[in-house]
């Protein structure tokens, strides 16, 4: 069976990033083989009967077989036993998938249209990239800031919905250094398919270094702003001229301009306005060029951005002029 193991692992399933993924694949192979055998039995039997008992003449007599209790019992009971085995095995794997070791390293994970934010206990924040140490159990404490999302790592064979208003959990222990793809698998709107992230599994030393490291060290405010923009804003706010179909105002020529709001008031887009619009976006909802108001769908960023990052965005906005 070894060759089959190899073939499956390398062709159909993603690489195995954890011990559980290996276990998972064994059960998967067992079911695939059992399924193949039953398909061969059913479809083979079907093909054989169909060819062998082809109608020869219009007056053919057919056998009058109404039932066979022993046969019927057999083909009810045997599948039932197989299903029970599969259920037991699957549950065993599931329980391990769910039960995080007590000493697991915790990473808070937030889904938000349309990116993943990761917050470490040390206060370190990261967007779209989770860095974790190898051979260490990692526990994710997951929530959502707007609608349902789902955190899915194919290589670890794990998945968990991010539910607004509560915390769900997930854990894994990566046993190989490398980059692993993260998808969002709960439909969440326009850029659902772009709500991707990476898990970077590194050695313990590299991880410690990353945790200490200030990513903005030595960068100018506008450069910090550009990074924050790329991570958090770009999904909705464009840098180009506003399209009629846009769901949010464009950032082009925004700073210093007079803004018209849904309630009829207006103000100049200065530092204070921008700060408020980020931290409490629904306080003033802007209108489109056509005069129709935008939908108040932007989540509040209060508590997510440091002062350094806020300053950065404001400086970055000042540069977006045409």
């Amino acid at each position: 069976m070894f060759w089959l193991n190899k073939a499956h692992a390398s062709t159909f399933m993603p690489p195995q990033g954890t011990e559980i993924a290996t276990q998972y694949d064994s059960l998967y192979e067992f079911i695939v083989i059992a399924s193949l055998i039953s398909c061969v039995l059913v479809i083979g039997g079907l093909a054989m009967f169909v060819l062998k008992y082809k109608r020869k003449s219009e007056t053919d007599k057919t056998a009058y077989i109404t039932h066979d209790t022993r046969l019927e019992f057999a083909w009810s009971f045997i599948p039932f036993v197989i299903f029970l085995v599969v259920f037991g095995w699957g549950t065993y794997i599931y329980v391990q998938m769910r039960k995080a070791p007590d000493n697991a390293f915790e990473v808070h994970t937030f889904g938000q249209k349309w990116n993943w934010d990761f917050v470490y206990k040390s206060g370190k924040k990261s967007s779209g990239l989770m860095v974790v140490p190898v051979n260490t159990p990692i526990k994710l404490i997951i929530s959502s800031r707007d609608v349902l999302h789902s955190f899915y790592v194919p290589a670890f064979r794990i998945k968990q919905d991010a539910v607004p208003g509560r915390y769900t959990k997930l854990w894994f222990e990566a046993n190989k250094v490398g980059d692993y793809q993260v998808f969002c698998t709960e439909y969440c709107g326009k850029d659902h398919s772009n709500m991707l992230a990476k898990i970077k599994v590194v050695t313990n030393e590299e991880f410690e270094e990353w945790l200490q490291n200030n990513p903005y060290k030595g960068l100018a405010a506008t450069e910090i702003g550009a990074q924050v923009y790329a991570a958090k804003c770009v999904a909705c706010h464009q840098k180009s001229a506003e399209q009629a179909s846009s769901i949010a105002p464009s950032f082009l020529n925004l700073f210093g301009k007079t803004r018209q709001f849904a309630d009829g008031s207006s103000t100049t887009a200065d530092e204070n306005y921008i700060r408020e619009s980020i931290l409490n976006p629904n306080a003033k909802v802007a209108k489109r060029i056509s005069g129709e108001a935008f939908s108040p769908i932007m989540p509040a960023f209060a508590g997510q951005l440091s002062d350094e990052e806020l300053m950065g965005i404001i400086e970055f906005l000042k540069t977006l002029k045409e």
Partner: protein, 105 residues
């Protein structure tokens, strides 16, 4: 069968059932906490639902003729209530067995 479905319940039975229903209404109001201050603790809801079920049973059995009717109708009535209980039981089972996870930030 034909006899059953066209069974005529006497006027007096109907009247007794109405009086019984009114009595139970008074009773349920009297034992309810917001009205009388009588507090049976966790049993408050249970008592109220028990009385309501007795009332509903009387209406179903006599006013809706289930007692004398085709048993299929009674079965349908019970089946629909059963599936309602299923909807509640499984949803509630999920909610009470959730392991609460709190933020550790």
């Amino acid at each position: 069968m034909e006899h059953d479905s066209h069974h005529i319940i006497p006027f007096k039975t109907y009247l007794n059932i109405l009086l019984g229903l009114l009595f139970l209404t008074v009773l349920t109001v009297l034992v309810a906490k917001p009205v009388s201050g009588f507090d049976a603790g966790v049993l408050n809801a249970f008592i109220a639902m028990l009385i309501a079920s007795v009332k509903a049973g009387l209406v179903a059995a006599y006013f809706m003729h289930l007692k004398y009717d085709n048993k299929l109708h009674l079965a349908l009535f019970l089946i629909s209530i059963f599936f309602l209980v299923v909807l509640f039981a499984f949803s509630w089972f999920d909610i009470i067995t959730r392991i609460q996870q709190l933020s550790t930030l």
